[in-house]
Point group: C2
């Protein structure tokens, strides 16, 4: 085969993927997948929690149809009611302390949230707003007095709130928020104000879930101003509606109106006109203002303080990433099942049309995405477990700063890849279902529209990958949180490149490549194409090379006397590519680690196929880069494409079992015409 492909290069005439070259291809029989056991493996330690959510989703399955038929306001109210009913089953409060009526298990709360993504996504996001964002801010940024005052009612959903951070002109750059909270020492109150700016409405709070209709409280992020001095962004509890639902004086609310999706969530805008709240409304976990207006914080540097505060809210990103991955599962479950029902054109038989899923192109479209979904699932499992571990020690627990920053970076990266994967997979699955996929009853309409914003909310994916890169380039140095984009450029430029490489995790990567592939430079002669160590070495090499390259380019730009901002702008695509490579490596490692821990079984064989397919698909997608950097010969590159096709054919007989194992409740698939009843 290698010889055949080699002659190809010389003559330029042999086709690229000559996979019907007579090869002694006798693939082993397909694994005999045990679906229930595979579901149990995917569900992991939170199988009970996930099953509770599955039952709740099934009980309230009519919401999928009501989402289409109810007028907008009624749909919103229905979603709220449903969130409260689910709250009553304990499903949504799992992450809160038991003393306040919660379940005291952060990992469980993530598992519950992820599983909720099998259903109506307005319910998911409303849940996230109430318990994750609003509740999370009270829990993580507040202290005992806030916990005692709010948590119990918040956990039951009796007290609804919103998380008023983003402003029309300030999304990714939250430090530049315009809203101000000025301390009035005479009254012992903060005065919350939305400034009027030249550009118009840059500083109004915008896209705030729960604000347009249901929230009574808002956690408002604002520039803290006391004794004539600004101390950066802090969070305040501000009542916005009374018990009857009437908007309070000084507060203005506007509905964001119809959105692309998630129309069961009442997003809105907020303006504050000198709204007074008591001094104790400051969520004072990380900073406080004394009666006389004296500001105090254990964290001196304002940047670091800000990022520490934000860091406590990382659970939101973990949750959104998991939700994206699970939404992709629903799409795949529908498309794969449709592929074994729907026939089109006579092919193998003259009498019967061929099943879509038996077409090579159809397999190519769906199976690498299926494999990647499994990979991301296991990567998500790792990040959720880390989150649980770090946060179970309490917000000021004994985890070192670096561990926290690494968690934040991992959460950011997994969120970016998981949500992009959702967008791509749902689109591909929709197209793979043709016209039927366009009917709302077949689920793709809601899946597409509702998940679309995942790529830009809870952090724009590109900005999140920049955060990942910053952590890698500075090795989460002490200065890390104090640096903005330009600070990062200057920091890197200030070191010798060797120091960057030495200081960062990059050199560890190189060592780890040597560990798994001691053969040195000739991987693709020596390592088998299905050798997991080969896959790992490739992804580690790419990450190391791209990161060192970014460091060099930043340094060179600064050395050439360019402005750091201009240097950054030019290197930006390289920065983002390096971060993506980092996360891709983590994802593959998560899959490989999971496999390594499993005893031999038919299910393990099935997962091995998927792991190989995922790894080779990732390498194939960037094979140009690997060739450009001397890591892939033309011969091996073509062999990889052939192998991906071959693996797709081997996945075909077990594809239905692999999507069934996701355990999406049948009523959540809907799609009577696509998946059958």
């Amino acid at each position: 085969m290698a010889t055949d492909a080699a002659s190809d290069i010389e003559t330029h005439t042999v086709p690229p993927d000559a996979d019907e070259t007579p090869i002694a291809e006798a693939p082993p029989p397909p694994p005999d997948v045990d679906v229930a056991e595979l579901t149990a493996l995917l569900d992991g330690r939170y199988a009970e929690v996930r099953d509770l959510v599955r039952r709740n989703l099934t009980t309230y399955a009519s919401i999928l149809e009501e989402a289409e038929t109810l007028p907008r306001d009624e749909y919103r109210d229905k979603v709220r009611d449903l969130v409260l009913e689910m709250a009553a089953t304990g499903q949504t409060g799992m992450g809160f302390p038991t003393e306040h009526g919660g379940g005291g298990d952060i990992g469980a709360s993530v598992a519950a949230f992820e599983t909720l993504a099998y259903g109506d996504l307005s319910v998911l996001v409303k849940t996230g707003v109430q318990f994750g964002l609003f509740g999370g801010a009270i829990l993580q940024l507040g202290t005992r007095r806030h916990h005692d005052a709010y948590l119990r009612d918040l956990v039951t959903g009796k007290l609804l709130g919103c998380f008023a951070m983003t402003e029309t002109g300030h999304g990714s750059n939250v430090q530049a928020l315009g809203t101000v909270a000025t301390y009035d020492a005479g009254a012992g109150e903060f005065v919350i104000t939305t400034p009027v700016d030249e550009l118009g409405e840059e500083s109004r709070k915008d896209y705030i879930g729960n604000a347009a209709r249901h929230a009574r409280l808002a956690v408002v992020f604002a520039q803290l101003d006391t004794q004539g001095e600004r101390h950066g962004v802090h969070a305040f509890v501000v009542p916005i509606r009374d018990e009857s639902g009437a908007v309070l004086p000084g507060v203005r609310v506007e509905d964001d109106g119809l959105k692309l999706g998630l129309n069961g969530v009442d997003n809105g805008r907020l303006w504050f006109d000198g709204v007074r709240v008591p001094r104790e409304a400051l969520l004072n976990q990380f900073a406080d203002v004394a009666e006389d207006g004296t500001y105090s914080s254990d964290i001196e540097n304002p940047n670091r303080r800000f990022f520490t505060m934000l860091g406590t809210l990382v659970q939101g990103r973990v949750c959104v990433g998991g939700a994206g991955i699970n939404a992709a599962k629903v799409a795949l479950a529908i498309a794969v099942r449709y592929g074994v029902r729907r026939r089109q054109f006579e092919a193998v038989s003259e009498d019967e049309e061929q099943l879509l899923l038996d077409y090579g192109m159809h397999q190519r479209r769906l199976f690498p995405l299926l494999a990647r979904t499994y990979a991301l699932h296991f990567a998500q499992e790792v990040v959720a477990a880390r989150l649980h571990e770090v946060f179970s020690r309490g917000p000021t627990g004994d985890v070192d700063e670096k561990g926290r920053r690494e968690l934040e970076s991992r959460a950011a990266g997994t969120k970016a890849l998981g949500t992009w994967h959702a967008t791509r997979t749902i689109q591909e699955c929709r197209e793979a279902c043709g016209g039927a996929g366009y009917l709302a009853v077949n689920r793709f309409a809601a899946l597409k529209a509702d998940t679309d914003v995942f790529t830009t909310f809870e952090g724009d994916n590109h900005v999140l990958l920049q955060l990942v890169a910053k952590g890698l380039l500075t090795d989460y140095a002490g200065e890390f949180e104090e640096m903005d984009q330009l600070g990062m450029v200057r920091f890197v430029a200030g070191m010798a490149v060797d120091t960057v490489v030495e200081r960062t995790s990059v050199h560890k990567l190189l060592e780890r490549i040597k560990d798994v592939l001691p053969g040195g430079e000739k991987w693709d002669d020596e390592a088998g194409i299905l050798d997991t160590n080969y896959h790992l070495a490739m992804l580690r090499f790419r990450e190391e090379h791209q990161l060192a390259g970014v460091a060099r380019r930043l340094k060179r730009g600064i050395d050439a006397g360019r402005h750091p901002g201009e240097v950054f702008s030019r290197v930006q695509d390289h920065v983002i590519a390096a971060a993506r490579s980092h996360v891709e490596r983590l994802v593959l490692e998560a899959f490989v680690d999971k496999l390594a821990a499993l005893p031999e079984s038919e299910n393990r064989r099935a997962l091995s196929l998927l792991c190989d397919l995922h790894a080779l698909s990732v390498i194939e997608a960037d094979r140009a880069w690997f060739m450009e950097h001397g890591r892939l010969t033309v011969v091996r590159s073509k062999a990889i494409s052939r192998e991906v096709n071959r693996l797709c054919r081997r996945v075909r007989p077990i594809a239905v079992e692999l999507v069934d194992a996701f355990g999406v409740p049948p009523s959540m698939l809907r799609s009577p015409d696509l998946v059958g009843s």
Copy 2:
């Protein structure tokens, strides 16, 4: 620079895109774009028609908001009313003969339709259903008796109809339709029946626009059965509602319900239970049934007859492709304008945040898509002109069969690339506008949802590319229309590969490469990276190589004794890749030809930049393939990526002018927060 990059390969340490390497980079000043003139160039010979549509869109701009606020049935009725009002301005009837109240200009009708895609897309699709599909079928498949009976009222919209081809179980494979029209010689009538099949509802008509609410007539495609013999699929005019709108006896209608988008169009399902229509209801342009039931047709082979009939309906594909391209323009106009308003993070200045469009990554995301939009626009202009030319000679005009088949192939390919481009561009633009892009008022919601089905209706894009490949592999041989998928495989396998290459257009390609780059094998040493002939040679080489490769693989598969269906399935991704390469080459040639015909000017300089950016982006996207096939060195590959970045920076100063030149009416952009007022 080349030296620098070369050392890169040896050491594996220098970063890939070291574009801040001190190069004597003094780009010429940006072109001074004349927007009005550029619009005139884009509008071409149908500027007046396009302006008429722009005025109509502006007059009825409120539909964009009404699409969000009206209940579904009212929205549908509103869309119908609007289509009728536009019809009264002559906008929608341009393609019909003047003697029946039309404009007698097919090219004008395409231009009008394309431009309509700047507005509400339900209006577009409703127009397409009534005048393109329903009207087109009456015009092309019918004869004088049908024209006299229906065209005049159809052109004014007084008579609304639908095009009942697709069935739930039969979309791409229309020849397998289940509906039957049996001739009853005694009564002189056809009896139209939806058979009940084992699988349930495979043979009901489905997704039929205008069927659920408004159509009085349906053009029904059914298997013609006379004198106990089946003659394949033919079209019949079947009344489905009376003048009051009541459904006629024997007809059953069901609403398709809510869809992902296009909810202003009333798609529905139809069943026929022995519905009788007179013998003259057969649209008898290509075949007829005599009173006694004798079947006759000038085209003997049933496959060829069927494809000839379908071929006359090619205008629909041309129109959808153009609509996709124009919808992408709307998205780009919004995203680019947002990029010069919205600031995020301090970068170059410490006092002011940086405009999004000044970020390298943002340019990378949007500008290659902008360049591709221009390329596709000119490719669309070519296919629309061919359509006009061929069809202006009448349905039975003197154009040779091969010319018609080439037009059909070109239309299929441009439709596939244009509609995928729309999906991708709209998504990227939405994400580039962050949370604001998620609000319905900012247009992306409708753009995304409404265009989504473009990739699978009027022919699934993958199936269309297979059609393109079939034409290329058989050189539109006489047998072309008679062949199904398997027939094509057998046909190709039956020839020597050299014969395939010789017979097809492939060998002409090789000659044309020699014409433009006589240097032989060493293009990338000898040809400049911005040399258009180099770009053309690259795309021609790829097409030639992939087509010859497909031929070889098909042949080898058959020679190895495999079933043609299995062979096809395995080579399918290669078949589709080859077809795509063919269309990409046509698109680039269209852009290059357009430029070649322009006198020197500032606008020509701007278009040259875009043409280079487009060509290099296309090569870059497939650079792995070019490296694998010896057409690209590592050094040149990296240089191309650097050049794409550089071209993006050069497009930056004229980006707003380039989107303004599309001439999207301001009220169609909506987006008060994104593009300003």
